[in-house]
């Protein structure tokens, strides 16, 4: 592989990492608050649909992004409502949310746009690309870092913001206390339920951005189940990084690289199926490396 190939691989990595790192940052919020949020997948998928649909209708990608964020936040609220208010098992509720979103997006796509499988149109306006001023001129690095959608850069800023919030603000302290020891946090006067509501809605907001990037950041289309496990992979990044933002970001980057590698390998002589498997296999390996103790969730069997 020559320098152009490597530059392409890294640029693809940057692009593919964005939805993962956004969803994983959101997942870090809910995970820190002590809720296992598998629903990231469905939130991302629905947001993707909403952003593509709204971009198609209004010809403004930013309206699409806003629609994605609102959709994600609403689903975060629904998840919170069921888990916190109605005491649903969080694992099963997440799974149900994913299934619901998969069906709902397909159903609404059929209803509103009359297509099955995928929705492609020239009227879907994608996000603009950002040319970074000085970096663009640097030979190798310019090609890698410059020319992505604004959400690509925003994602890393938001990761830093999340990191600051977790360790330097009141909210972050409450969040971690609630996750660490809910009874103690409760005794200290922190509202466990309210904190978890906030965390889950924030997770939805981040998934909304992730979905918008997936739908409008590069390809400008929506396909049934187009997240194809990315929400779960993001969730794995959260577990692997123990919901610590820097580690979560690093894990996302690793997964983004695996995905990019899969895409680049398709161009070489490797069977597509094997290159497609790479991120999923890596996820299992990462899971093994991540925890060396028993999982902490509880299966309710009533």
């Amino acid at each position: 592989m020559n320098a152009v190939g490597i530059s392409q691989l890294l640029a693809t990595t940057v692009r593919m990492t964005t939805p993962l790192v956004l969803a994983a940052t959101g997942g870090a919020f809910s995970h820190q608050s002590g809720v296992w949020n598998i629903g990231l997948e469905g939130m991302m998928l629905s947001a993707s649909f909403a952003s593509v649909g709204c971009s198609y209708l209004t010809a403004d990608p930013w309206v699409g992004v806003a629609a994605g964020v609102i959709t994600g936040a609403s689903l975060g609220f629904v998840m919170a409502l069921f888990v916190l208010r109605f005491r649903a098992n969080e694992i099963i509720a997440g799974l149900a949310l994913n299934m619901l979103c998969e069906g709902l997006t397909a159903y609404l796509m059929m209803t509103f746009f009359g297509t099955r499988g995928s929705f492609v149109s020239a009227r879907i306006v994608g996000l603009p690309t950002v040319q970074l001023p000085i970096i663009k001129e640097v030979p190798f690095i310019g090609g890698v870092l410059s020319g992505h959608s604004p959400l690509v850069y925003l994602s890393w800023v938001l990761l830093a913001v999340a990191s600051y919030m977790f360790y330097h603000t009141h909210f972050g302290l409450n969040l971690r206390a609630v996750g660490e020891h809910p009874e103690a946090a409760n005794a200290a006067g922190i509202s466990v339920v309210r904190t978890r509501y906030t965390a889950l809605i924030l997770a939805g907001v981040f998934c909304g951005l992730a979905g918008a990037q997936l739908g409008l950041g590069f390809l400008c289309m929506f396909a049934e189940g187009m997240t194809s496990g990315r929400g779960l992979i993001a969730f794995t990044a959260v577990i692997f990084g123990r919901a610590v933002p820097c580690l979560v970001g690093a894990a996302s980057l690793l997964f983004g690289f695996a995905e990019a590698l899969g895409i680049v390998l398709q161009g070489l002589n490797m069977p597509t199926q094997f290159s497609m498997m790479v991120p999923y296999m890596l996820t299992i390996v990462i899971l093994v490396l991540a925890v060396r103790r028993r999982p902490s969730y509880v299966l309710s069997q009533n």
């Binding site: 299934m99 069906g103 899971l287």
Partner: protein, 363 residues
Amino acid sequence: MTRDVALGRQRSAVKVFTSMLRSILPVVTAVLAALAAGAMLILISGHNPLVAYLELFRGAFIGRANLANTLQATTPLLYTGLSFMIAFRAGIFNSGGDGQLMVGALAATVAGVLIRGWPAHLHVPLAMGAGILAGAVWALVPALVRLRYGANEIISTMMMNFVALYLTDYLVQNHFKGSGVIGTTAATPRILASAQLASIMPPYLVTAALPAGILLAILLHAILRRTVYGYEINITGTNSTVAEYAGISVFRVMLTAMLVSGGVAGLGGATLIMGVQKRFVTPFVSTLGLNGIIACLLGRNRPLGVVVGAFFLGALQSGGLFLQYRTFVSERIILVLSGLIILFVTATELTRFSGRTEEGATR
């Protein structure tokens, strides 16, 4: 004295009935709530929900052909539901039913195509055995990864689904392609007649796999209720620490439960090929595993409950296809309804009538 005994019996019968009612009622409420929410969605899309649900019901139950379709759809769900149930009872969340079913289906296909000259009464069990084995092997990876390293099996089993999808696609496309399939999909050659399951409801594709699945449910019921192993599974699933203290090898119980779980899912895939599809079509898109989870939850994690849950979902599915054909309401509504049902079923506070929460404010 005999009258006292008789009274006691009567009272216990009433008790059993009320306790059954108490466990079924939330499920019924959840299903109704999901149907109500689904009705709103159908309304938004410009159709009459009453007409749609009527067609759904007709498509599921009215007429021999429709009923046969429902039974045909029920069969694989029975296996994936039981598969999930066994692991879940032992405290493992096996969301990899789809992958295990897929590799089981391919293994049975390979055995059904390549092994020639065997009589049916040997060929059929052999192909089924291949399916069971493949499913169990596919479940072994996440099981070991969980038990040796404590890695979350919910994620790893789902990842194994994706790996199975691409692996089977690769194998069929490159090494095992038959002729006669149009479009972007590919398929294996047809399995030999000696490996096919005969219909018990000709001309429809309802096979002996359905009664066999019900028998399996009864067998599992007996195992869980009456054997030491079943007892060990129940304790391990309820509280693995207690199980460990009681001298039960949690590792052994969970591992075997997961292997059985994968094997049953693989068997479901095998019977699907041998009874219905007769060849493996790739990419093998399947939501049978996920629906098995719903069947199990609807059936309150009990083997015989799974039979009811699978039948309900089978009816929903065959009714959904009929609905799409008759009214242009997309059958994707079924996926939405399934998601809603499982969401409402797990929302214990929403569907329980005697209010009051026990845990207080700490959740």
